[in-house]
């Protein structure tokens, strides 16, 4: 921090000296600051975007600063109210409420970002970034879920196509499961682990596919302690309890089992692509999530967004708006896809023939059309309710109905506590 301040000071001093040397002549350049948390591919992608943006806008320079993920939020919170820090900031979609309430960000100007136009251009789940009449933040890229499958294991078991619906999912998984002489699982048909992506799969996909709606009232009321919810959790629980095609936390982590070639199928996010590509000897394919009993398709999408902070004023604000415009352009989205592997947030950039027919990105991108975004109050606590639900059934023999009811109650408590403020 100290070093940074020193650097800022030196930079400021140098700029001042240069401006003076240049005399009162030409217009001085505007410098805006951009902050994000550190993740190598994201920083690389942003470097490219900044380079392109600066080439197109020679009078604006963008300075990027990044921090480790754990200290990111604290730094943002401390800097902006003090008039320091970023003009454009990256945040997780789930933090929007907190940032708006703390007055850290300001709404995007309606003349450049008219809400109707955004709703027309972006994928529907981006609506979560609208509060009242204006949008407060917009993503460059989004993530969705898909079914990864092990091509070698499919071949061995004589399976030709990945499962298209939930019944096929169970049947396919049965064929892929392997056991040793003592009945111990040595390869699972499908990985499960509520702590990985499964809680998203249940919430936004399975519950909807069994005819339910996971939450009511803008995600403020839990709505899965009912027939649809019980069917969804029942289906999930049966995978292990009845069909024996999986074991929660098999090989410690679902993605580890899949990477090791000990899992036939694995549901995960598009952010896993990079990690799987670097695994030697693993042949894998991607398919859309299996459809529900009545053909319903659904998906879960999460994303990071960029917003203009309340600190940006005057010419910095104008520059920040321009930068935001670039960050939400088709060009920026394509660069982000190629560098980070995250999917474009607009159909115009995502649904190109090349992207949609891409063997890896294609299924994820198709999922975006019908994806939903959960508005979390406290994602880790809400996830915990579901983790505990399944563990009560598995480890303590609690009845499904009872466990679902208890989880719904626990999660509702988390929501109530958050929204009472």
């Amino acid at each position: 921090m100290k070093l940074n301040r020193l650097r800022t000071f030196m930079l400021g001093a140098a700029t001042a000296a240069m401006t003076m040397a240049a005399g009162a002549g030409g217009a001085s350049a505007v410098e805006i600051e951009y902050w994000q948390y550190f993740f190598e591919a994201r920083v690389d992608a942003m470097d490219k975007l900044i380079e392109n943006f600066e080439a197109a806008n020679p009078d604006i320079t963008v300075k990027m600063t990044h921090f480790p993920y754990d200290s990111y939020r604290t730094k943002v919170a401390a800097a902006i109210p003090a008039g320091q820090g970023p003009d454009v900031v990256q945040l997780f979609y789930g933090w929007l409420n907190d940032y708006v309430e703390a007055e850290l960000i300001q709404p995007l100007p309606a003349d450049t970002f008219p809400p109707e136009k955004i709703e027309e251009e972006f994928f529907p789940m981006v609506k979560a970034m609208r509060m009242g009449d204006s949008y407060w933040a917009l993503p460059t890229a989004v993530r969705s879920l898909a079914l990864f499958y092990n091509e070698r294991m499919f071949e061995e078991a004589g399976i030709e196509n990945p499962p298209a619906n939930l019944d096929e999912l169970v049947e396919t998984a049965k064929k892929l499961t392997k056991k040793d002489g003592a009945g111990n699982l040595t390869a699972v048909g499908l990985t499960t682990g509520m702590t990985a992506q499964d809680h998203h799969w249940i919430r936004e996909v399975l519950i909807r596919q069994f005819g339910g709606e996971p939450y009511l009232d803008d995600y403020k009321k839990v709505n899965y302690n009912n027939e649809a919810g019980l069917k969804a959790f029942g289906f999930y629980n049966d995978l292990q309890a009845k069909h024996g095609v999986t074991k929660a936390a098999f090989m410690d982590e679902p993605q580890a089992a899949f990477k090791a070639g000990r899992a036939g199928m694995h549901i995960d996010g598009s952010f896993r692509i990079g990690a799987l590509e670097s695994v030697r000897g693993l042949k894998w394919g991607v398919a859309e999530l299996p459809a529900g009993p009545d053909g319903t398709k659904s998906n879960y999408s999460s994303y990071w967004v960029n917003a203009i902070t309340s600190k940006a004023e005057g010419e910095k604000f104008d520059a920040a708006v321009k930068f935001m415009e670039y960050l939400t352009s088709d060009e920026a989205m394509q660069i982000w896809l190629e560098t980070v592997g995250e999917l474009p947030a607009k159909p115009s950039a995502a649904m190109t023939d090349e992207n949609i027919n891409h063997p890896v990105y294609g299924p994820f991108i198709k999922g975006l059309e019908y994806a939903k975004t959960t508005v979390f109050a406290n994602e880790s606590a809400q996830r915990q309710a579901m983790v505990d639900m399944m563990q009560r059934i598995e480890l303590q023999g609690q009845a499904l109905e009872e466990s679902v009811a208890q989880a719904a109650e626990e999660e509702q408590k988390v929501l109530d506590e958050y929204y009472k403020k």
Binding site: D70, R73, T74, V76, A77, D98, Y99, E101, A102, E103, L104, D180, A182, N184, L185, T186, A187, G193, T195, A196, K247, A248, A249, F250, M251, D252, E253, R262, N378, E379, S380, A381, Q384, V387, D388, Q391, R392, L395, Q396
Partner: protein, 297 residues
């Protein structure tokens, strides 16, 4: 300057002492005492790291004491202490006592015992975590399975998980305790043992009448030190259960992990500060009781 010249030598010494002390004192005030005091204040407030702090009185504490998870965590924390401290002390004493008598490759064996203490807790916890896994990867279960014995659920059982995590923590701290015990043993004058031998006293009496009483300062230090360690256990638990921190069903969650979760996942800083104050109080009380009990009467 005249004021200084008028001081006596001893007063001047005091002035200089304080000048040299000023830096550490300042350091402690800014780095330790101010944040501690701030945490106490924060425990009566509500704050999500962004925005303003808001006074809520005793609400955080009321919420804490009526939360069943807190009591579960409270119990776990004391389980770590009550199981961990005696087991690790007895083990390390036995090892040190016998190692002290070994001449053959003494240095190498001692280094081997000390090695885990120098290893990063994170790396160690992950290795143990893999040891504990069920069949295709876990060493322990593969071993059992090769003899046709049914698998043991280590980390995925509500009853076995806490002892499993604790075993790793005890093992990690053993090296340090062995070294301290050995230093204590070496400090006992040989003449006592010689006198005992001349009197023809049994080995057991030597141990209970000479060795252990004279080791008391060492034991007091280690009891207090390791108690604080077990009450603050975090690394091992967090790394062995990262997917479901403190699980399954909160059966391994210690207080520090609860604080971490409240603060940095829930962004509920006031509530986390209240938990911290409770932890602070527990540490203080336990340490004071131990010092009182083990003090020379």
């Amino acid at each position: 300057m005249r004021f200084y010249n008028n001081l006596t030598i001893s007063q001047k010494q005091i002035v200089w002492a304080w000048i040299f002390l000023a830096l550490p004192v300042l350091f402690y005030v800014v780095i330790r005492f101010y944040p501690t005091a701030n945490a106490f204040v924060l425990s009566f407030q509500e704050w999500n790291l962004l925005g303003d702090r808001k006074y809520v009185g005793l609400e955080n504490y009321a919420k804490l004491f009526s939360d069943p998870v807190f009591w579960k965590v409270f119990k776990n924390t004391f389980l770590y202490l009550i199981l961990g401290t005696p087991i690790s002390l007895v083990l390390s004493f036995i090892i040190a006592y016998h190692l002290d008598k070994v001449r053959f490759m003494h240095g190498t064996i001692r280094a081997l015992y000390f090695l885990p203490f120098m290893t990063s807790a994170v790396a160690m916890a992950w290795v143990w975590r893999w040891f504990y896994q069920p069949v295709p990867i876990g060493v322990f279960n593969n071993f059992l399975a090769s003899f046709g014995i049914s698998q043991i659920e280590f980390l995925s059982s509500t009853t076995n998980a806490l002892p499993s995590v604790l075993a790793c923590a005890v093992w990690a701290g053993l090296g340090f305790q062995v070294i301290i015990f050995m230093a204590g043993l070496r400090a006992i004058p040989q003449s006592y043992y010689e006198a005992a031998r001349i009197d023809g006293v049994s080995t057991w009496t030597v141990l209970s009448e000479i060795t252990i009483p004279l080791l008391k300062p060492t034991i007091v230090f280690l009891v207090v030190f390791s108690s604080i360690g077990f009450l603050r256990i975090f690394d091992q638990v967090f790394n062995m259960t990262t997917n479901n921190p403190g699980g399954p069903l909160n059966s391994t969650k210690p207080l520090v992990l609860l604080i971490y979760d409240t603060a940095f996942n829930g962004f509920n800083m006031g509530y986390a500060a209240a938990q911290t104050v409770v932890l602070f109080t527990i540490l203080l009380v336990v340490s004071l009781i131990q010092l009182r009990l083990l003090k020379d009467s």
